[in-house]
């Protein structure tokens, strides 16, 4: 299923999620990325990240608010093509 990090993370990147993920599947290139990303192939659906996030940015994929639905693609894409994911984030922010 996986969890997804949505728009409220952008330019906050608290990283509490990284400190609680038991399988270390949350990452970003610090200094380059404006949000963190969850690897859907490694996520074990424990939900610790959602509870820990102080910005309410993380959702289980089936509970992602409609206006942020594209962030599921963004998180998955980042792990194959970070630049493609980043350009979509920019589009979503300026939409």
């Amino acid at each position: 299923m996986s969890y997804v990090i949505a728009q409220p993370c952008v330019d906050h990147m608290d990283q509490a999620c990284v400190q609680v993920c038991p399988v270390d599947c949350i990452t970003a290139d610090l200094g380059v990325d404006r949000k963190l990303y969850i690897d859907p192939e490694a996520c074990i659906d424990c939900g610790a990240c959602e509870s820990a996030c102080p910005n309410a940015a993380i959702f289980r994929r089936d509970r992602l608010p409609e206006r942020w639905a594209d962030y599921a693609w963004v998180d998955a894409a980042w792990f194959a093509d970070p630049d493609a994911a980043r350009s979509v984030v920019l589009e979503l922010l300026t939409a």
Partner: protein
């Protein structure tokens, strides 16, 4: 311009080049003991192959077993002190993918351990501590209680709420812990006195949300001035937190670790 719905989800996700990112890796630890408590709790003692990572009491790490070529992992709270083999308490979920395999482990079996993670930890500077856990939620509280051996002056109560007495995992460790300090209490409580393992029970009966305030008061603890650490299922933790807040504990003094299952 109004954006039409989730347009990108229909685009294919780019394929990953080469190997999967950060494949989890082979077994790195050995089961030393496996002890069943009642019908659904197993206590595991696990020794890592290499020097264990440092951790703070209250943290958890993932236990993993390979199932049909894939590593299946779940996080479990560490119930031991740094410097001894890891100890965990696992609740069997019969229809689950992992816990039936954890339930079946015997000494010598191999596991993969992740690294300690989590933000549920002891805070400094309080006048009294209440550690309240239900079921296997007692596990991180055991680690916290043991860590308090370095802070013996502050009163601390550990309450463990279970359905029946045969689920009181870590009871011997907690009994010994409570004997090491005058301001310490270990209070096991069962909620279903009619069930197996109850015969001869003379201890507390009831759910923790109902008895926590009274037990703390009887121990001379001023609840509004204390700090609480709660761990268990989400409904149990919410109920206990509600009781403590109603007894005057500030919300910032209530630390929680809740799990969904």
């Amino acid at each position: 311009m109004i954006r039409p719905g989730p347009v990108r989800l229909s685009r294919p996700i780019p394929p990953r080049a080469g190997q999967r990112r950060a494949a989890p890796g082979p077994p790195n630890a050995t089961v030393r003991e496996a002890t069943r408590h009642g019908r659904s709790i197993v206590e595991l003692v696990v020794e890592p192959d290499d020097r264990p990572d440092p951790f703070e009491a209250g943290q958890y790490l993932s236990l993993g077993i390979e199932v049909e070529g894939r590593l299946v992992q779940r996080p479990y709270s560490i119930a031991s002190s740094p410097g001894e083999p890891y100890r965990f308490a696992i609740r069997l979920v019969p229809e689950g993918l992992l816990t039936p395999r954890l339930w079946a482990l015997v000494p010598g079996d191999r596991l993969r351990l992740g690294r300690p993670r989590g933000l549920f930890r002891l805070v400094e500077g309080c006048r009294a501590r209440l550690l309240l856990g239900t079921g296997t939620g007692i596990a991180p509280l055991v680690a916290m209680a043991l860590a308090l051996d370095s802070d013996p002056g502050v009163p601390a109560i550990v309450l463990h709420g279970v359905r029946s007495a045969d689920e009181l995992v870590f009871s011997e460790r907690l009994r010994r812990w409570s004997a090491r300090g005058p301001g310490r209490r270990y209070v096991p409580a069962i909620s279903r006195p009619g069930e197996a393992g109850h015969s001869g029970w003379t201890g507390e009966v009831g759910r923790l949300d109902a008895i926590a305030g009274r037990v703390a008061a009887e121990a001379g603890i001023d609840v509004p001035a204390a700090v609480a650490y709660l761990c268990g299922s989400r409904p149990a933790v919410d109920a206990i937190a509600g009781a403590l807040l109603a007894a005057g504990m500030p919300a910032a003094a209530v630390h929680r670790e809740a799990f969904d299952s």
